[in-house]
Structures are given as C-alpha cells and as structure tokens.
Symmetry: C2
Subunit: 329 residues, 2 copies
Amino acid sequence: MPQRPGASLHAGVALRELDEEEVLAQVLPLLPADPDAVVGPGDDAAVVITGTRIVTTTDTVVLGRDWRDDWSSGADVGHKVVTQNLADVAAMGGRPTGVLLTLVADPAVGLDWVLDHAGGVGEACRAAGVGVLGGDLSSAPPGVVMVSVTALGALPGDPVLRSGARPGDVVAIHGSLGLAAAGLRLLEAGTPERHAKAVARQRRPHSPLAAGPQAAAAGASAMLDISDGLLRDGRRIARASGTVLDLDPGRLQSDVDALAPALGRAAAQACVLRGGEEHSLLATFPGRMPPGWRAIGVVRAAATGQAPGVLLGGRPCEVGGWDHFRQSR
Amino acid sequence: MPQRPGASLHAGVALRELDEEEVLAQVLPLLPADPDAVVGPGDDAAVVITGTRIVTTTDTVVLGRDWRDDWSSGADVGHKVVTQNLADVAAMGGRPTGVLLTLVADPAVGLDWVLDHAGGVGEACRAAGVGVLGGDLSSAPPGVVMVSVTALGALPGDPVLRSGARPGDVVAIHGSLGLAAAGLRLLEAGTPERHAKAVARQRRPHSPLAAGPQAAAAGASAMLDISDGLLRDGRRIARASGTVLDLDPGRLQSDVDALAPALGRAAAQACVLRGGEEHSLLATFPGRMPPGWRAIGVVRAAATGQAPGVLLGGRPCEVGGWDHFRQSR
C-alpha cells in the first residue's frame, strides 16, 4: 500500500509538548465556521440560529476498535466520524448544519496526526456545507485515541422514524451495499489492491446526505442509514414498525456481483447483507420513490405468531452484524 | 470513608455479557425525557423543538484523569459531567434544555456501575429540568472509561461572551471558590473527614445555573464558569476583552478562611485562586449586580505596555491551573 501522508500516530511533536491553547490555535483554522453561528468555538459554548426544530445525534470512534492506525490516516478517521454522524441526521430527513468535535488522546500522539485529522474533519464538513461549532480536547491513558462528534441539523418537515413502515410499502436503498465491509476484509487479508474503491469506502464512507430530506419530502414512511448491516438495520425498522421487511435477493445480486471477483461469492454476499459502516440510506415508501432510490424488497404484515423481523426471499435469515460490547460479527 | 454503593467499576455482571440493546433497555428508564423532544433516544437522531437560538457545548471526562474509581461513584461521575456541561450553557446566559450522553467503556466494566452512573446523570438532569435526548454507547480498550456529554440550551437574549468586559466593570462571583479543589487535596491526603462539604463538592460540583440567565438579563458584560481556576479563568476574560481583571484579595478572604482549618492557609489560598472544577460563575457587570453575586474586583484598562491579564491587589500573580496535555497544576 502507498504510504499515507500524516498517517503516523506518534511521529513528530507530541501533544504533551504543547498546551491546549497552542493545539487549538493550529486546529481551529482547519475547521470551517458555521455561517449560522452567532458564537463559534472559543467561548463557554456555541450559539447558533436555527429553525425551531433541530435534529441532534452523537457517535464516537475509538482507535483499535473503529479504526487501525496503519489502515486509516487521521484525515480518514475525521472524514468517517463526521460522515456517520451526518448520515444519522439525513436519515431523520434532516439537513446537517453543524458539528461539535471532541478529541480524547494519549498526550504521546503527534500534533501532525491531530492536524491531519482536523483537516479531514474540515474537508468532510465543507463538502456537506456544515460548520464546526465547538468541541473539547482531552488527554487519555497511553494508547487511547477517541473521537466523538455531535451533529446538529435542521428539519424542514416531519421526522422520518424507524417505526413508520407499513405493509405494502416498498423497501428501498440509496447508495452502495457492502463496499465498506469488503474494504475491511481486503485490508485484513492484506490484499487492498483487489478492490481499491471498497478499501477507499472503508476509510471514507459516503452517505447520500441530500437523499434524506428528499425521501422525507417524498413521503418515506421509515428511514435509517446502514451502520450495522442491511439485515440488522432492516430488522430495526421491522421491529420498530411491528412489520416484516421481505428483501428480494435478486435485487441485491448486482451488489454481490460487484464484490465477488475480489472476495469470492460467499464473502461478497456476507458483506452486502451484513456489512456495516456503509451509511447508505434504507427507507420504506408507501408511494413513488424519488430518483436515486432502488427497490430491494417489500414490507409485509407479520403473520400470526411471526415476530417482526427481516426475511430474505420470504425466508428467515441469520441477521449477524456488529455489537459493540460482545464484539461479535 | 464509608462504602459508596454502586461505586465498584468491575463488580457484578460485565457489559460484555450483554448486547447493546440489553444495556440500553436498563439505562434509558433512568434518564428523564425532554418534554420538548419530538423524538427522543432510540432512532437515528433526536428531534427537539427549540427557540431559534440555541446554545451548545460538549465536555468529556476520562477515568484516571478526571475521576478515580475509589473516590467517585458512577453516580458522582454522572452528576459531575452533566453539571460541568450545563454550567457552560448557563455561562453564556442560556437555560439548559437537553443533553446527549456518550459512554465509552471497557467491556469488563460492570452493568451496576453503568446503571449507577446513569442514575446520577438522570438525577442531575432532573434537578436542572433537563432531558436526555440521546447518546452513544461504545466499547473501549481495557481500563478505559470515558463519558462525553453535549448540552443544548435556549438563549432568551444575547449571549454573554468572555470578550465583553470593559474598564470600570465590577468583577463578581456567584457561588463558592476552592471547595472542589480542597476536596481533591483532602482525598489525595487521605483525610476527607477534615472537610466533608469540600469532598462532596469535588464529587458533585454545584453550578448556580439560574444565575446565568439572570446575570445576562441584568446586563453582565462577560461571563464564564470556573473550570480551571479563578486566576486562569479570569485571565481568559481579561485576554478575550483586552483588559485587566484586578482582584481584591480582601474579598476572597472569607473563602480562604473557610478552607484554612482543614488545609492550612497556603493550600487554602491556592485552592481559592487556582482550584478548578468549581463551576461557580464569574462575571463582569457595568451596572448593578443581581442578588446572589458578590464583588471580588474591578476591570481596568491595560496600561501602556501591559499585557491583558489578571492581577491580585494590583500586582501580577502566578496563574497556574490545569492544562490537559501538559497535566501541570
């Protein structure tokens, strides 16, 4: 693999050689301002002018669990943690507007890594038209690096919950399936060259942020982003809605085909069905889907004695996916 | 010291024996809902109805750096991290309305500790009339426990910044000085019985939240909460305002006197001047102070060649205080 500039966690000047204000003086210029912020970073709190309904969410990544230093640069990690937070705002039908950024790091971590990371956060925020409102910088025990982001967004209409899917609705996806998980497998296998795009998506996932509010405006009945796998996240909609999501394996075939040459067919299928970190949007629509969405199944009523859940071609399936504490896949 | 119920980090059922949903099912009932939340915890993001100006801030605590397991229970940690975030909202003149709560913990941590912690978060939120909007639960490397809170608040008027202090303003404090730092010293010395109230404040600091919006309404020109010590935080106002804050040692004498019997006079004075984690409010007023505030100094113009900063009885002083990365006091 090519050397990634700025990727080394412990090179150069360490954080412990600087005080907090010196670090912030270098980090803040890398982060875009929020044009709606009356007060940005540097005071006790930020002040932002909003609509009267705001969407807010928070998500955290931890070195060694959510990323590996030899696989992802600081900028990659910044991109990823911002994207996964903004995806949650979009999945409610919201338009992301601002983030708060917390870095908790071993003081032995290099300033270069921190600046590379802040550059990635800034880039992802700018691409989404989002400003950085504030944050926190803290030290951690040796070896620990953790980034936590809270995102805020505006909600133009009603929120799209997980609980609104109704029998007869179409189940649809906007974006790719399985790429990020395939990239992880290839990194684990030491063969990233077999599917460069998948590896790039593992490092920097893409979420179709504008599709969230568009789906809401088009009447989506339920929506979320694929964080923990199509089957596991699909089951979340099914359980919250008290319905069954019946996915059509034929509609997922092109996703599997795209990964099979690099991974083999079984692994490609596992990535498409159970791969997390993709941040594509999964929604249900009672009527017409907006452009960019593709149907992959249908919502059914749970039969008598049948638990709400997800089916594949009408048959029960092993859901799998990621659990934080059990750390099983 | 008396045994503190629920204080043991690793007793009982460990997080790794449960999945995330099982943990959340026990945690969520302990947390108050936000009455303004259209959508609370459990979906991709929360949705809250706000005024058109919101205040937002985030602050994180880390086991071993911000608290010791043998000195603070999970509930204490929950109280403290909520209070320090809400204090930042109040210090802008805002009224806290909601929080997001992130727990990143070694899977070996006991569920009992987590529930005790959530109980403390819930108690502090309820006391402040604040709801829990959502959060995140993640695993961490062995030995690591970290709690991050993001607070949201409503801003009834203009924000009170650090930069508004003007020559002639009165410098005033609302609340105690040095208690939390004194408590830490007594815990470190193994003599907590010498000042039980100080030790209690170290575990569960108190911030006069309602005094923030009251000060704003009364025309406070600058405000913050004491996080890193009176001198260090005072210097923040001075530097942001381009002024000098001249504190009157005589006005701080009663604070020193209250701690001297337990600590000795020199240590008591150090706590009052440089003790952090107190979360009392420090403000400057061009006119009359509202009830509950007491004058401790005056804002002066920086003389020619004099840097903005803090003086004690007209003389320069060693500011000290806490820095996260250098870890000096």
